[in-house]
């Protein structure tokens, strides 16, 4: 039997197009990064996210106007009348408030996503991998939290914690409420993909080689099960930013004088027909931030799947 003939056929066709074949060893993350660099979606979304993160950390780079300076006689001024985006009902500069509002949204979105991924992902992996009684207990626990309506749960959570004026503490309160009520959906997702990946022969082969459960989860189950969670988590990031806006709108999240897109949107409702620019600009910033994270999620998912290369 001529073994050589078998292996040489594909080699001949691919020599030219894949010169890195015999290069130094490459990791999954390295390959993902290489694939991501070629994806325009990744660059567009990361530039947008970078801008939003800069806005959140150094708002003074973008505007020198004080967002808390109210000029009542210019209330409801249209864009171009002295300011870029006009003024809202209190006479605040809408542009400055959009810039300063990024901080609350980005902080809440990022922290909540990190929190739900950490809590939900871990619980989902444990439930899916261990199975049996552990799975039953963790899944029922998740169901209990899943059954609490988001707004009712968040209201109870936020009201029961002591009131404070510390900005970071208020943000963390909102994050905490969203994590407590949001982890079960990611845990369910993770559990189901772990259960899907676990019986695969390559997991059995790793067991046969004597791999520890930790190694099996890290090297085999996680890379193959994490993609749906990354996508849903980035989509949820947008949803958490809107949830923060919702809670602020209802008056239980961030509250004036704190600045957030949600607060501005809720305040703009009164002028929806007469001065829609008051609603338009904060909503535009909110949508762009959500869009940027969803696009990044798509790009990461594509890069993590070697079949797409």
């Amino acid at each position: 039997m001529t073994e050589a003939a078998v292996t040489e056929a594909p080699e001949a066709t691919s020599r030219g197009e894949n010169p890195v074949d015999a290069g130094p060893p490459r990791s999954l993350a390295g390959d993902a990064w290489r694939a991501m660099r070629r994806n325009p979606l990744f660059w567009i979304s990361s530039v947008m996210i970078l801008v939003f993160v800069l806005m959140a950390t150094f708002p003074s780079l973008f505007t020198s106007t004080d967002p808390t300076e109210a000029i009542l006689q210019e209330s409801r001024a249209l864009p171009g009348q002295g300011t870029w985006f006009g003024r809202d009902i209190q006479g605040y500069d809408i542009y400055a408030r959009c810039i300063y509002g990024a901080r609350a949204s980005i902080l809440v979105g990022l922290f909540t996503t990190i929190g739900t991924v950490a809590v939900g992902g871990t619980i989902g992996i444990i439930a899916g991998y261990a199975g049996g009684i552990v799975d039953t207990l963790l899944s029922r626990l998740g169901d209990i939290f899943f059954a609490i309506p988001l707004l009712l749960g968040a209201i109870i959570f936020l009201v029961s914690l002591p009131a404070t004026n510390n900005y970071l503490f208020i943000v963390l309160k909102v994050v905490g409420a969203l994590v407590v009520l949001g982890w079960p959906s990611l845990a369910r997702l993770m559990r189901s993909s772990v259960i899907q990946v676990k019986p695969n022969d390559y997991v059995q082969a790793a067991r046969a080689l004597g791999a520890s459960p930790f190694r099996i989860v890290r090297a085999h189950i996680l890379p193959n099960a994490v993609a749906p969670m990354i996508v849903v988590a980035t989509i949820n990031l947008g949803a958490y930013i809107s949830a923060e806006a919702t809670l602020s709108f209802l008056g239980i999240g961030l509250q004036s004088p704190a600045i957030s897109w949600g607060i501005d949107i809720s305040r703009a409702i009164v002028g929806l027909r007469t001065t829609p620019h008051m609603l338009f600009f904060p909503s535009l910033f909110l949508s762009l931030a959500v869009l940027a994270f969803i696009m990044l999620g798509d790009a990461v998912r594509d890069a993590l799947d070697p079949k797409n290369r």
Partner: protein
């Protein structure tokens, strides 16, 4: 006789059937029900049987991927059914497995280098860190893959190449035993031959012992030194390859062998086919006595009451292990033993341009000339399974 490397004693695996809210156990699926055999150093033991007879479960029990309900598996006399975690890891080095499906047995997110190198990461003392990449490339070379493809992903390979990667992973730790769970059944016939030949080559070079689980009787005959035939979780017959294939004494083996297609047109219609009636009984409720008695043409009263033991029974020439009260040899025309013949190398290469004996017809269709086909067309077919070959209007009978 060489030393015994792997020994299974009375291996049993029952899966409970649970019903209702309280998950009460209402029955047992007896997947493997008392299997005993020894595997000697450097030999190949073929395990054959139809779907659902417990072949794969047996492989997973030997591999300790599942805990047996009872019975023991001993590696070189060392029982590893009750081994602790650390001991188990050490023993796992000696027994490795090659899976059936080359598309699910390799992690799609790892490069070939990582897949084949994983055994060295789990057992870091085997090869020092600096030498691992070189060792992986040596392994790829050994199984007939290009060592330069170390950074490729599994989906960039064909089924046969992926199975070679699986074999390379299996032999990375230099095991004494390789359990092959239908390693070629998911492959094309031409690729099957390449993989089987590779496995024979590796056996010669590395002194591996194989447990070769398959349902293809011809492949098993080709590669095996000894063959075990399983039916409903039990071993029906176990013996040397030519004992089982030339002088089968168990009716089930005889029926199985009579169903093997014969690639020799001159034998067409001359052989006797034993057609079994009925289906395989459920392993949750196997028949009493001999498990085969419900479908056996020889069955008598004793068969339904007393279970025949797997003991040496005369086969007309010598004697070998068989589990039938009425074991007797029976001439079954079956697969031709080709191990002593020159292999036909025409199809061993992917380059089909210049195969001798084939020529291109006027419409560009490759047609094969065979004198045997023409001689036989006059005789009426008696062997129904071969009917399609003998249709006089067929495209080949010009």
């Amino acid at each position: 006789m060489p030393e015994v490397v792997l020994s299974a004693q009375n291996l049993v695996k029952h899966y409970p059937i649970r019903k209702g809210v309280l998950k009460r156990t209402v029955g047992q699926v007896k997947a493997v029900d008392g299997v005993t055999f020894d595997l000697h150093k450097g030999e190949t033991l073929g395990i054959v049987g139809e779907s659902g007879c417990g072949k794969s479960t047996l492989g997973r029990l030997l591999m300790r991927l599942e805990a047996p309900t009872s019975g023991t598996v001993a590696f070189q006399g060392e029982d590893w059914s009750g081994a602790s975690g650390r001991e188990m890891r050490r023993l796992r080095r000696n027994i490795q497995i090659v899976f059936q499906d080359p598309y699910t047995s390799l992690n799609p997110r790892m490069t070939v280098g990582d897949i084949v190198g994983e055994p060295f990461e789990i057992h870091p003392d085997v090869v020092p860190k600096g030498g691992r990449r070189k060792r992986v490339q040596d392994l790829l070379d050994l199984v007939g893959l290009n060592p330069e493809h170390i950074n490729r992903y599994p989906h960039q390979f064909s089924g046969g190449q992926r199975q070679r990667i699986g074999i390379a992973r299996g032999i990375a730790l230099n095991p004494s035993v390789l359990i092959c769970d239908e390693p070629v059944s998911a492959l094309d016939v031409s690729v099957q031959a390449q993989v089987v030949n590779l496995m024979e080559k590796l056996q010669d070079e590395l002194g591996l012992a194989y447990v070769f689980i398959a349902h293809d009787l011809s492949v098993v005959r080709h590669i095996s030194d000894r063959v075990g035939v399983m039916y409903l979780g039990r071993m029906a017959e176990l013996g040397e390859e030519d004992e089982v294939y030339s002088r089968p004494t168990h009716p089930y083996t005889q029926a199985l062998l009579s169903a093997v297609p014969v690639p020799d047109p001159t034998l067409r219609g001359k052989r006797e086919q034993i057609v079994l009636v009925g289906d395989v009984p459920s392993p949750a409720n196997p028949p009493s006595g001999c498990r085969f008695h419900t479908r056996c043409w020889k069955a008598q009263d004793i068969c339904s009451t007393e279970e025949p033991q797997l003991v040496l029974r005369p086969d007309g020439h010598g004697e070998h292990l068989s589990a039938c009260h009425f074991a007797e040899a029976r001439e079954v025309v079956q697969t031709v033993d080709v191990s002593d013949r020159e292999p036909d190398t025409r199809f061993s290469t992917l380059d089909v341009g210049d195969i001798p004996g084939l020529d291109t017809g006027p419409d560009g269709v490759v047609e094969e000339h065979s004198d045997l086909l023409h001689d036989d067309t006059a005789r009426p077919p008696r062997d129904t399974t071969r009917l399609v070959d003998e249709e006089p209007e067929g495209p080949r009978a010009r």
